[in-house]
């Protein structure tokens, strides 16, 4: 929690002012019962006889104090809400920015759904806890201290009741807190499990239905759900003791104070007015302790969330370009891999890529073929430096990719990712993503090149058609073509298509490749494909398997030299020659 608090930043002064105001408010609040005791002891039971004037005077003083306290309270609420809202704003921005700086590896580490939960659910938890805690954790300790001072001032002997009660209360609350904590953690783990299982079910609902596993899934859910319920009950059982325990101590104090206080009054050591203010203070002292304990409970609730947020801030960003030369730009569209080895994480046993050597000249078209898991996507990810090599060098445009500012490198290298996504907005806005400054003509040109113009124009709203979240209203093949258009509008020197036409029919696929060749000559193109047809006219074709390049050459060369390639080619075309 403390670590997250440093993001208070420029709102620190508001926070301090708010605390001062709260302190003032509490001082006045606490002083009121004291003044009241004077009314009774001097105004009514005074040695000089009853004094109505004094009563009214003291009444006015108390009203004044309470008004001041109220204004302090209102002001502190204003300032505190500024500090609180500002803090939350800072924290949100810091988190979001940090994630924007994440490399692909960092994102893989957390996974996307977990990042989403952290920034929404955990942030909400954290915010709620922060609000309560700041409201209570400043006010309550002050109230505790000031009222305790008052109690001690009125009668030190009677205050010994608190000397007994406070430690008992603190130890008791601490024990409750201590026992509850692991139980709550357990419960939250169970809840996470339940949510994960539910999400899995929802994602696979079609499978559930096709295999008629509704009942099976219901039973599975019921078990996990009951586990959450039982754990919740177990955890709450402890917390339920909180208030009764607190009340017991408070009532014991009241009885003890009544007994000893009563005797003191009889002996003339205490006045009736003092006794009455004493009773008021008992409530204040013990209430503030209860507030402190329930705020601490809130912190326990938020503890997991805080930990999960801290993990984001602690994550070391593994790809940075701070030492790069900001002036350096790609000289040409060449790509060279020199003895590249790559693994996704240091702990991984096997290399994703081993001993990769490639030399691609500017303007060449390169095809990559190979079974799933052969390392095709890993290989192309190194070109725009989405990941860093483990060993060896990737040289793009004449320089090691690590020498460029990331912006300069990625500006010229466009990747159409395998799992590409569109965003909420119009088609035009989505294409403009590649280059926000492009004109409408350029958008249309890119779309034509990606063979998307035809279907876009078939929509009633054309380029103004709204894409819903994750593009559910356009078909898979249409999405892929929009993603290609988005890449092309960047006018990159190098374009990489990672199985980007898998949902596009053969015919359209061919037309896209033709268009690229005609209109964007000079651009280096890398195509990962399943179909030999998609890459057979490439300048070079790489066959990959198990993270290595196993064959390399043009279509004709490979037909002669590579059995694997020949097999693949024949299995895809066989029978059509008839």
């Amino acid at each position: 929690m403390r670590r997250l608090l440093r993001y208070v930043g420029e709102y620190r002064k508001y926070a301090i002012i708010a605390m001062v105001l709260v302190a003032m408010e509490v001082v006045f609040d606490v002083a009121i019962p004291m003044v009241m005791s004077n009314i009774i002891d001097i105004g009514i039971n005074g040695a000089a006889g009853p004094d109505p004037g004094y009563c009214i005077k003291m009444g006015a003083v108390m009203l004044g104090m309470s008004t001041v306290a109220m204004f302090c309270g209102i002001l502190s609420s204003k300032v505190a809400s500024q500090a609180g809202a500002g803090y939350v704003r800072n924290l949100r921005n810091v988190m979001f920015n940090k994630i924007q700086d994440f490399s692909f590896k960092n994102i893989d580490h957390f996974t996307v759904p977990s990042l989403i939960t952290r920034l929404t659910m955990d942030m909400r938890q954290m915010r709620m806890a922060f609000m309560t805690v700041t409201r209570m954790l400043v006010r309550s300790p002050m109230q505790l201290i000031f009222s305790f001072v008052m109690v001690a001032k009125i009668n030190l002997k009677l205050a010994s009741v608190f000397a007994v009660a406070l430690p008992i209360l603190s130890v008791g609350l601490y024990l409750i807190f201590k026992t509850a904590h692991p139980r709550f953690q357990e419960m939250m783990t169970r809840t996470d499990d339940l949510n994960a299982a539910t999400e899995e079910n929802l994602i696979g609902i079609r499978v559930v239905k096709t295999f008629v596993r509704g009942e099976f899934e219901k039973q599975k859910f019921s078990r996990a759900n009951n586990a959450v319920r039982d754990n919740m009950r177990k955890a709450e059982k402890i917390v339920n003791l909180n208030e009764p325990f607190f009340s017991t101590v408070m009532y014991c104090c009241m009885i003890a104070v009544s007994w000893f206080g009563g005797k003191s009054i009889i002996r003339g050591e205490l006045s009736v007015g003092e006794f009455m203010s004493y009773i008021s203070y008992i409530r204040m002292v013990l209430f503030s302790l209860l507030m402190i304990s329930s705020s601490l409970m809130q912190i326990v609730f938020a503890d997991t969330s805080v930990g999960r947020l801290n993990a984001i801030l602690d994550e070391k960003i593994d790809i940075t370009d701070t030492d790069a030369d900001p002036e350096l730009v790609l000289e040409d569209a060449s790509i060279r891999f020199e003895n590249v080895d790559f693994k996704y994480s240091a702990e991984a046993e096997e290399n994703a890529l081993t001993d990769i050597n490639i030399d691609i000249k500017p303007g060449q078209v390169v095809g990559i073929l190979g079974p799933t898991g052969a390392g095709k996507t890993s290989l192309i990810s190194l070109i725009p430096r989405l990941y860093d090599v483990t060993d060896g060098k990737v040289i793009v445009g004449g320089h090691d990719v690590r020498d460029y500012k990331m912006d300069n490198l990625r500006k010229d290298v466009a990747v159409v990712l395998q799992k590409n996504l569109l965003f909420t907005g119009t088609i035009e806005e989505n294409i403009l993503w590649g280059d926000p400054n492009a004109t409408h003509e350029e958008v249309v040109e890119a779309a034509k090149c990606a063979q998307a113009d035809d279907f876009i124009m078939s929509f009633p709203d054309g380029y103004e058609t709204k894409i819903e979240q994750s593009g559910v209203n356009v078909s898979g093949g249409q999405q892929q073509r929009l993603c290609i258009a988005r890449a092309l509008i960047k006018k990159p020197k190098i374009v990489i298509m990672d199985d980007s036409t898998s949902a596009v029919d053969t015919d359209t696929d061919r037309r896209i490749r033709m268009a690229l060749k005609e209109k964007l000559a000079g651009m280096t193109t890398i195509i990962i494909a399943q179909r030999v047809a998609s890459v057979m006219e490439a300048d070079q074709i790489l066959m990959m398997e198990n993270g290595r390049i196993v064959a390399h050459g043009t279509h004709e060369e490979l037909l002669k030299t590579s059995e694997a390639y020949r097999d693949l080619y024949e299995s895809q075309t066989q029978g059509v020659q008839a």
């Binding site: 108390m62 692909f104 009455m276």
Partner: protein, 630 residues
């Protein structure tokens, strides 16, 4: 972009309930199943409220009867005083016990109600038609089970006892006050009315900002969800600054609203506290004056002073909760609307049963798995007919959304054991056909029959059990590889699962996994490659071994060489079954008995591979891009 999202989230996340009465009565139906808990709660809450009221009253007799008369006297008999305190202690004890019981009972009941709500939601989701899931993200549906149910926790466990407590306390205090002194009571009641007025108007004022805040928060969450889902794209396109700018925009709006809601929320406490101090002060002064003129005693004032502080507390606590109560009610309303929405229709009565064929050819129902199934038709005296896998589409018309025809007069038939393939460009309607066979959606025109029965006459569970589907999206579940394969048939033995995996050529990669078949798959099998997941998918269908098989791009991520390897296994799996195949790859569909070429929801060509190639039409075009280029 912003308006689009706004529209969406406004629809989705209304911060305010629209029909409170209905929601509460729905909620009541859940609470009703805990009658003992409810009664206990009402009793204990009343007891603890009343003890709380009584606790302040005691100071009047203590001061007036046991202390003041003895001031300055020696050898006072304190036994009565002690007895009085003993009585007080027993009342307090009753209060403590009832507070504990309230907590205990409410906690038990709330966790129970929430759990059964979650279960009802989940169960209902299992019964919802597939069309419900279209166009909704699972995150969106998840919120019903997570945050919506969760906001109801406070509503049930705290709000109800609090309302009762507040009412009893206030009535109790007013009654006691009036008995003590009507003059001081009027002052205090007057201030109580003021407290109520201030609380109500502050709540009203803050409600506007509160729902604005709710709205912005959901907008923010929507933005985060979308951006992070596409985070890799954001990075690859260096769009970080643009999304950050948009994010900061929403955060700034939220900040401005946050300040206002925070301020208004924070006002209640100092103002009401001050009002309660005013009550305290005025009581003290007026009380003192009454004492001086002899019409009141100090003990009464002592009790009154405590009541003056006590009376406004419940009101401001309750009004502070008001916004959250509204929020929970809105969540509850969403939940109940979901629960009340209609489930998938299932009016069929023909069921599939295990069957045995006697030597004379008659079919008998069997009580165990025989690998042979029969349809049992209750409208025909429970006559049994063997499940063959004869599927016919007759002039089928279908659209997902009214007016947008997806299938237009599609007719075809698959005789038992035939392999039928569908090819065509994306969006042509191939997957739709398979979705209709197992009745994920209902058709608008024409008919679909299965072994002569209209599929609407067949009970859904039976229909779907008879059709094995291997879908393009590979969904695996957390658990071991073995458990995932067994998902196809829950009573399959380990040996049968392994045999199925061998058929699908999955055995070789599974045995290489660290724990073989006992390897635990992470969420949706993310520790496997897409191709491996598809192999598991096929194993799952193989172990189910149903009469009809649908392969929807089942091997799309399996490289051609592996596909070659599993060919023999696939042939074995498909043997004797009716098979519908959808594939992009020619090699996958080539061996089919008939290939249907679908474009724009119509079958435009049909025939065997050789016939279609000879036809040199669309099929030829689709699969010969390669040759034309040469």
């Amino acid at each position: 972009m912003a308006e689009e999202r706004e529209r969406k989230y406004r629809q989705r996340r209304q911060g305010r309930p629209s029909d409170i009465k209905r929601t509460i009565s729905e909620l009541w139906s859940y609470l009703k199943s805990y009658p003992g808990h409810m009664i206990t709660m009402v009793v204990t809450v009343c007891v603890s409220a009343l003890t709380n009221v009584a606790s302040s009253y005691f100071f009047k007799p203590i001061i007036n009867d046991y202390v003041v008369p003895f001031i300055g006297k020696d050898n006072v008999d304190l036994s009565k005083f002690a007895a009085m305190l003993g009585f007080m202690a027993s009342i307090y004890a009753a209060g403590v016990v009832s507070t504990y019981l309230t907590r205990r009972v409410m906690s038990h009941m709330t966790t129970g109600v929430l759990a059964s709500l979650r279960e009802t939601i989940f169960d209902h989701l299992q019964d919802m038609p597939i069309s419900y899931y279209d166009g909704k993200t699972h995150g969106e549906i998840m919120t019903y089970i997570t945050s919506d149910v969760d906001t109801m926790r406070m509503l049930i466990s705290q709000t109800m006892p609090m309302v009762i407590n507040t009412l009893i306390s206030i009535v109790g205090i007013i009654v006691v006050m009036l008995r003590l002194d009507w003059r001081l009571s009027i002052i205090n009641i007057g201030i109580l009315i003021l407290v109520v007025f201030v609380s109500v108007s502050l709540t009203k004022l803050s409600r506007k900002y509160f729902s604005q805040m709710q709205f912005l928060v959901s907008q923010l969450h929507g933005f985060i969800e979308e951006t992070f889902t596409g985070q890799k794209v954001v990075k690859a396109y260096q769009h970080e600054d643009a999304v950050t700018e948009e994010f900061t925009g929403i955060v700034d709006d939220l900040y401005n609203i946050d300040i206002r809601t925070g301020f208004l929320g924070g006002l209640m406490m100092p103002i009401n506290m001050n009002l309660s101090y005013i009550a305290y002060v005025v009581t003290a002064v007026v009380g003192a004056l009454l004492c001086i003129n002899g019409t009141q005693d100090v003990g009464t004032i002592a009790s009154f002073l405590l009541y003056a502080r006590q009376i406004s507390g419940p009101v401001s606590r309750m009004s502070q909760q008001f916004n959250y109560v509204m929020m929970s009610l809105a969540g509850a309303e969403r939940v109940f609307t979901l629960i009340d929405s209609p489930s998938e229709p299932d009016e069929g009565d023909v069921v599939m049963v295990n069957a045995e064929i006697a030597e004379d050819g008659t079919i008998k129902e069997a009580d165990h798995r025989t690998g042979i199934w029969a349809w049992k038709d209750p409208q025909n005296g429970n006559a049994l007919t063997r499940v063959m896998g004869d599927v016919r589409f007759d002039n089928v018309t279908f659209s997902y959304v009214e007016g947008k025809v997806v299938l237009d007069g599609v007719s075809f038939y698959a005789k038992p054991g035939q392999k039928i393939a569908f090819v065509g460009s994306t969006g042509a309607g191939k997957t739709t056909i398979t979705n209709l066979i197992n009745r994920f959606y209902d058709i608008q025109g024409g008919s679909i029959t299965y072994d002569g029965f209209d599929i609407k006459r067949i009970k859904k569970d039976s229909l779907r059990s008879s059709i094995g589907m291997v879908l393009q999206d590979t969904n695996l579940f957390s658990g071991t590889v073995m458990e995932n394969i067994r998902y196809g048939r829950l009573d399959a033995t380990d040996e049968e699962c392994i045999a199925a995996a061998k058929l699908a050529n999955a055995d070789s990669f599974i045995t290489r996994l660290p724990q073989g078949y006992q390897t635990v798959l992470e969420a949706n099998g993310s520790n496997l490659s897409q191709g491996q997941r598809q192999l598991l998918n096929i194993s799952r269908a193989a172990v189910a071994s149903p009469p009809v098989l649908v392969l929807d791009e089942a091997t799309s991520s399996i490289d051609t060489r592996t596909e070659h390897l599993i060919e023999a296994g696939m042939d074995e799996i498909m043997k004797g079954r009716t098979v519908f195949t959808i594939a992009h790859r020619l090699s996958t569909v080539r061996g089919s008995n008939a290939i249907m070429v679908i474009e724009h929801g119509k079958i435009i060509e049909r025939g065997s591979h050789d016939e279609l190639v000879a036809l040199k039409g669309r099929y030829y075009q689709l699969y010969t891009g390669t040759l034309e280029l040469e």
